[in-house]
Amino acid sequence: MFKFIAKRILQMIPILIVVTIVVFMFVHLIPGNPARIVAGPEADQATVERIEAKLGLDKPIVEQYFVYVGNLVKGDFGNSLKTNEPILEEMKTRFMPTFWLTVWSMIFAFVVGIGIGILSAMRRNSFWDYFGMFAAVVGISIPSFWLGLILMQWFSVQLGWFPTTGLDSWKGYVLPSITLGVGVAAIIARFTRSALIDVLKEDYIRTGRAKGFSEWKIMMRQALKNAMVPVVTMTGLQFGFLLGGSVVIETVFGFPGLGSWLIDAVTNRDYPVIQAEILLFSLEFLLINLAVDVIYGFLNPQIRYDD
């Protein structure tokens, strides 16, 4: 098992190298000159050229890449073109808010999603099933920025329970977490329901029933665990996506995380920031996939690691 994990971690290195090359190329292919954006809307050509030289953007692209990778190996992500501040520092301060936002919205999604999934599967074709699945369709379909603004209107403007924007206290997490979690909860609910329905047809469930276990006990002791494999896969992927920061939600709630930083970086063609963020997201995904694979083993011992 540890051999398996070590091997997987080593395999990440070439992947990350490829990521740096691809991201670097793509970022430089986007039309738009960062120096022009840094220089501002009133700048003349001479100013733009001066800034280009100052930022090292006048050098050949291959040279720029090797400078970038050279610094990266030393643990230096470079400085933001826009603010000239070190990226690593900014990334540290912005990672935690996004991380906690992800955790809270996943907890919300997991509890609500699995709850609805179980209810729907146990009372199949009942009112609760239809209601649960209707709620799930609505949850997936609602545009998140709209939901965010509506929640803000209810809970901040009308009721005054939570702040509209910012992160001055734990309250700042509530609305963005729910907004972000609703869509994921809906997906989890549907996955849980369909996986449970399949599992509930299995022989061992019938055996359980024959033994006289209650439906609840069967659900908790046997069915749910076996139905979790697809749910965990999907949850892992969603976790990865959210950990990248939600561009829309973070913008709506003025949330100081990675997502709002990324959109700002793209708008400003802040190459080093975009590169650093994508590299971080890639790493996060690789680690999450690894974690998901490890969890499979616990859920279904038939899945073995190829040491």
Partner: protein, 525 residues
Amino acid sequence: MKNMRFSFLLLIVALLTVVLAACGGSSDSNSSNESKSEGKKAGKDLTIAVNQNFVTLDPQDSNNTLDNSVQKTMMEGLVAFDENMKVVPKLATDYKVNKDATEFTFTLREDVKFHDGEAFNAEAVKTNFERVSDESKGLKRYSLFSNIEKIDAVDEYTVKFTLKNSFASMINNFAHPAAIIQSPKSLSSGDDVSRKPVGTGPYVFESWDSSDIIKVKKNADYWGDAPAADTLTFKPVVENGSRTAMLQTGEADFAYPIPTEQIDALKKADIDIENSDSIVMNYLSMNVSKKPFDDPKVREAINYAINKDDLIKVVYADYAKKATSVIAEKTQFYAAQAEQPYDVEKAKALLKEAGLEDGFSTKIWATNTTNYIKAMEFIQQSLAQVNIDVKVEPMENGALADALWAVEDEKDAKVELYFGGWSPSTGEADWGIRPLFAKDSFPPNSYNISYYSNSDVDKGLEKALQTSDEEERQSIYTAVQKTIWEDQPWVPISNPDNIFGKKSNLDGIFLLPDGSLNLEKLAIN
């Protein structure tokens, strides 16, 4: 065995939950300190919600009005703009200009100290301007001061600037936010002035935190009238709906800009919404180097075919003035021009004369914000009436900038129609006209994407800079505006208002025509 594995998994989940709860808890207690100061707001702590993240607090290295607004709470210039964009004294009590507009001499206030205790004097001024006019420093506002040849501290409180060439508009450059003065000690200490500026202003820098919130506090030793607020908190909230919600909940005392769609809702919620004139010029540019826009008749026809009053209703909800020149009314040396009415029949007749009665196809570019897209669609529909088929092509800002300004040769320019905006941050005619209409301003040098050139305009612009005689300058700029107005490389459209919202207990807080915030007359009731 199976059970053991499951228990192990449960244990991990339980552990994780405990860790999360603990961290969650610690982050709560962490921030509860902050929320105490934030939650129990005394009346004198103001929160100002704005629409962009901050970039830098170094005025000489800033290129946007928002950063300037924050900087101006902490730092001041020798002269400044008043609410009509007139240049008024600030840290200087008086200034003199020689006839050729090559020497600018300022007499300084003697009762001013920087926040770090340093004295404000001629040497301090000299240090500041030597920094920004040094090309090797690579500061973004170098171009405003590149014309300075030398700076002399004549005596303790007199400083003289000598320019390389006559430049009568220079006094406006001194009133520009980029010319506000920082403590010479802070500039030489190696401290990062872009994150932590030191000036002479009514407020002192306090913090710039990881959420990008900037706080300043009252300067108890301020030389002028005591500032009204104890602290000011600037909070960037990019999303329009969220920013206006902050006004409704009272989390913000002042917010700008306010999108026109939200004005009614806010008025109902008892928020003061105010609007003021800006110097922003919105225009439809035509590339006169391209067919059929090289024909003045076609340009005139397009001008006749667009109903500007209706456009202003549709796009700006009436929060804009109709353009009456190629620069806005609050720009110095503005001169009103004869109005060209909306007249579709005349437009058709002109196109017929130009041999284009069956119309033609073209495309319009603009940035992809809601208002600009609306404006492009309005223009598209207007021109459809005269058989001109316009394809609307909204573009992302960076891509648009490349397509417009990065063109090396006139012949490679792909722009035909362009709906754009220009705000001359120096507040005077030269910067409102030269970058957009001078022959030397063809891309990539500057912003003349109409590729318009008229030697009368070029000569006038040169001449107006060589004299400090205000009347003479006015008459030159009046003639220049008339020439451009009649040549019609643009359809000048509108001057949109600055719109801001505030709590009703605030007075004397407003936006200057250049879009920057003015708090000098702030009163909290």
